[in-house]
Amino acid sequence: MTELLALTLALPLLAGALFIVATASTRAALFGFFAFGLFLALAWVALDAVDVALTEAAIGGGATGLLLLRLNGRMRHPVSLGEPAGPRLKIAAGLLAALVTLALGALLLALPEPAPSLAAATVEPLPALGIGNPVTAVLIAYRALDTLLEIVVLLIAVVGLRALGTDRGWGGRPVPWPEGEPSPALVFLARLLIPAGLVFAVYLFWVGADAPGGKFQASTLVAALWLLAIMAGLAPAPCSGGRWTGRALAIGPLAFIVAGTIGIAAAGSFLAWPEPVAKPMIIAVELALAVSIVVALVLLVAGPPERETGR
C-alpha cells in the first residue's frame, strides 16, 4: 500500500522534472515548477518529515516559483549564457547525468543496515528545553549556529540585492507589479486570506514548539500574505533604504547573537541556553528572527529597488 502511494508521488515528480527541463516555453516550465513543488511537499509528508514539507511548499515551491515568475515577466530579453547545445554536448550531458544518477542510486542501495541515527540523542534532552518538536530543537538549540548563519546568508542576499539595484533607485522601492489596476478577484482574495492567514501564521509559530511548524514556516506565510497585499495594491512594497526595514532586518541576528553571548556567561558556551529560562529566551529569539525573515523574504521576492522615494 505504501509502495503504491510512493509510486503515485514519485512518478509525477519525475514527469514534472522532465517537463521542466524539456519544455520549450519558459513560462510553461515555471508553472511546471509550481506543480513539482507541491508534489515534492507531498513526498516529504510521505517521508514523515512534515516540518520539511511545510518549508518546501512555502519556500521551495511557492516563494522560489513566484520569484522566478516575476523575474520572467520583468526580463526584457532572455539572458543567454552561450550557444544552444549541439547533439554532441547533449549526449555528453546525458551520459554525465546518467552516471551521477546511477552512482547516487547505487550509493543509496548500499547504505549500511541499520542506519546510524542521532534520533535518540536528540530526544533525550528535550524536556530541559521545554520543546516537544525535535526538529525545532535541532534548529534552535543543538545546531543553533547553523540557523544563525542561515539568517546571515539571507541578509547577505538582501545586501547583494540592494547593491544590484539601479543608481537612481538606491534606497527606494521595487517596481510595483502587476502594472496597472489589480484584478478585483485578487483584491477580494487578498482581503479574505490576509486576516485568516495571519491567524494561521501565529498558530504555526506557536505550535512549532511541540508539533510540525515553527518560525520559518510562519514567517514565509506572513511574507506570502504581504506579497499578496502588494500584488493586490493594498500595501506598499518595503522601502529598501527605509529606517524600519534596516532595523527589522537587523533585529533577528542581533537578538540571536546577544542570546548566544548570554549563553557564554550563564551556561558556559556560545549559543548554549541557560536551563531555567531556556524556553522564554528561545521564544524571544524566534520572534526577532521571524521579523527579520519576513522582511528579507519580501525584499528578495519583490526585487531590487528601481523607484525613487520621496524620502
Binding site: 521542466i20 519558459t26 521551495g60 526580463m75 539572458v79 547545445a85 542506519a115 535518540a120 539601479t166
Partner: protein, 95 residues
C-alpha cells in the same frame, strides 16, 4: 521499500536537473534546473533521515533540520541570481 523509491527518485532528479543545467543556454532555465538538482539532493537527505528512524520518531530530526536550512539557503542563492539576471537583461540607465 517505498523509502528507497523516494531515494532513487531523488537521484534521478539530480540527474535530470544536471542535464538541464548543462544543456539549456538561457540563464533562467539553468536556474530552474539548478533548483531541481537541489530538490533531488534534499530528497536523498530525507531518505537518509527516514531510514534512521529511532527513539519513537519517524525519522532522524538532524538531517530534516539541515534540509530546512538548506531550502532557505537555496532560496537566498536563487533570489540573488534572479536579481543579477533582472539587471543583466536590460539596464534602464547607464550602469
Amino acid at each position: 521499500m517505498s523509502t528507497t523509491l523516494f531515494g532513487l527518485t531523488g537521484a534521478a532528479l539530480v540527474g535530470i536537473g544536471l542535464f538541464g543545467l548543462i544543456v539549456h543556454p538561457t540563464a533562467l532555465r539553468k536556474l530552474l534546473a539548478f533548483n531541481l538538482v537541489g530538490a533531488g539532493v534534499f530528497l536523498v537527505f530525507g531518505v537518509l533521515a527516514r531510514r534512521a528512524a529511532a527513539a519513537g520518531l519517524a525519522g532522524d530530526p538532524v538531517p530534516q533540520a539541515i534540509v530546512i536550512t538548506g531550502i532557505v539557503v537555496a532560496f537566498a542563492a536563487t533570489a540573488l541570481a534572479a536579481t543579477l539576471l533582472a539587471r543583466l537583461s536590460g539596464p534602464e540607465e547607464e550602469p
